[in-house]
Subunit: 221 residues, 2 copies
Amino acid sequence: MATGFHDVSDETIDVPVAGARREILDAAASCFFERGYSATSIDDVARRLGSTKGRIYHHYASKADLFGDVFKTGMDMNFRAILPEFSADCPTHEKLARMARTHTRQMIETKPYQRAVWEGVEMHIRSAAKPGQRSTLTELLAYRDRYSDLFKTTLSECRENGLLDFENLSIANQVMFVALNSPLFWYSPEPGKHRAELDSVIDQVVAIVMRGLGYKGDLTS
Amino acid sequence: MATGFHDVSDETIDVPVAGARREILDAAASCFFERGYSATSIDDVARRLGSTKGRIYHHYASKADLFGDVFKTGMDMNFRAILPEFSADCPTHEKLARMARTHTRQMIETKPYQRAVWEGVEMHIRSAAKPGQRSTLTELLAYRDRYSDLFKTTLSECRENGLLDFENLSIANQVMFVALNSPLFWYSPEPGKHRAELDSVIDQVVAIVMRGLGYKGDLTS
């Protein structure tokens, strides 16, 4: 069934790390988010953590390793959030809308991790990674592709069912992802009116995307 | 009239630089594109240029200055391309579609410059800029906002005329820009079948965006 697609299932996806390693990852994600990969040092992360570099090197051999684990954890979070939606027993267009909403919510609620994923993709496009880093990055990108494929499958099913209407599947999938990811770059929830505003932002982004892909029905969440 | 909006007109927008400075900018844009701002040095740019650092320092006091001029030139190119469309005498939705097409073409045809603009925006969001850089970056962002306002005005007119249907103008504008910019990250024209493929990619992206914003009409370019 659907959940077995490309061997992606609850059993094959790691639970995002917790505990001591997670504290390091949170600090690292914040630093990468604020300065970008190149301008961040292990010193910066240690300072953010209020700890010694030794504590970080106990878990990670290098900045590249640390970055890789932030990326991996961000994707673990996304998989964990999206798999229940992907395997939901509901009409395909509803499934896609739910996946799109959940993905967009992830972008906002786990922003520093998701910006690291974005930067990893940019580094890959740039071929900016050093040889040692490159194979890790390629693996991480493959992991992200498996995630992207869950959406691609759903998009394709929707089109077969006449619920969506677009020309090239890959182009539709790419434009969809960039649009759903876009709050990474323009939205920071204001404290206080958080919840209702957040829901409205997500609904508006998803509505633009679903309609853009040719969906003509109602879009109440 | 429309062209006078926010003092943006052919008279107030610089012609993109040419000649010796343009050669430096082309080399710098390629380097920033491949490595990102932090990881690029003036040495890298000189090497790409097959020249000495002195030639660069003759025109630019620092890497930040050089980056600023790449950003500025990328926006000059966009303004020059979009102003004729913005002041075209045609139905509003047609004007928007033409502006969207032209903008997307710019992203593909002047990609290294546009990636620098994107990175400048990211640096601004991150507050990654150093104090000295910050005021230049703020000015550049304001220049980009004037460009974005041309689209915002057109979106708003379309909605008033009942041609588009979206909730929040700023959100619609942001999602639109990110989607139109997205080929920066996923499209590299294959040599040979360049022209027809390029046109098709642009048409597909613009179709998704226009429909996403609520346009229900025909979209033949």
